[in-house]
Symmetry: none
Subunit: 147 residues, 2 copies
DNA sequence: ATTACGAACACAATATATTGTGTTTTCCTC
DNA sequence: GAGGAAAACACAATATATTGTGTTCGTAAT
């Protein structure tokens, strides 16, 4: 922890108080003796999505969910399974940093769906990856069927 | 520190790593045993904002950020650029003393946005400066277009 | 001016986090 | 599918943070 005044990295904790989901510590720099506070919080950084045309928007979980639910429509997949899959997806995206390309979202969702339900996967892939030719479709299906 | 999964408040630290000015801890919930990370960072010293009616309130970085993000919505501006711009803005405000007028915030944000993205600038200015007349708007636009 | 509340301060007894090092896993890239 | 980087995992010896309680100070509301 860097002292915000002299940038020294050795500090000690003088006091600590918890507050719901936040932990506040009072620290003292071992070098310049100045005091300052720090906050500890659960890591859940926001991230943004870069669309194909370069525009940015905040990640929208509900939007992701809608897309996935649509692909899973009428398929025998429990809500629980879907929720877990969505959580995993969000985690994977979060790990990619503060900004992720929208195409990456599609890729990750696809890879997750593939693990769960082939039909849902194909449905999703056909939309998100914008399979240009029926050929791509056919290739994917052949590939899946052969396994 | 609340476990983000079961909301239990007892957790233990499994690991900790420092990274420049951030401290990352890995924790385990004593109840559900799930693991999660936390981040500790220096708390920015506070300063206050004088609102138009004279009332004071603490400067709220998140609020500032929300306003700016709103103005930048759907614009091709990277998070990094926005974050830097926000940091610069906060620094400029901080230098103005322990109390700053709310109108100053608007002016500084506007001047920063102007450097980055004209559209975002106009959006922001139209809200924060409460352009009374469409005229003001028109004038600004004409001015910008002519450059 | 008075009250009330949260923030800062202090301190001592105790419990828990930290550090260093090394291994394993995950997942992105090619 | 292979290679490689980053994150997670593990663990033991040691140092440091935490907790509880109480006082004081600053500032907002009355």
């Amino acid at each position: 922890m860097l002292c915000p005044y002299c940038l020294n990295s050795e500090t000690k904790v003088i006091d600590k108080r918890d507050n719901e989901s936040l932990t506040k510590r009072r620290r003292e720099c071992l070098k310049c003796s100045k005091r300052f506070n720090t906050l500890e919080a659960v890591e859940r950084p926001e991230f943004r999505v870069i669309k194909k045309d370069g525009r940015r928007e905040n990640f929208d979980y509900e939007k992701l969910k809608r897309g996935v639910l649509k692909a899973c429509e009428k398929r025998p997949i429990s809500s629980e399974k879907i929720d877990k899959m969505l959580a995993r997806t969000e985690e994977r995206l979060r790990k990619r940093g503060k900004e992720v390309k929208s195409t990456l979202i599609g890729d990750i969702v696809a890879s997750e769906l593939k693990k769960i339900d082939k039909v849902a996967y194909i449905r999703f892939a056909s939309v998100y990856r914008e399979f240009r030719e029926l050929d791509d479709f056919k290739k994917e299906i052949t590939f899946l069927v052969n396994r």
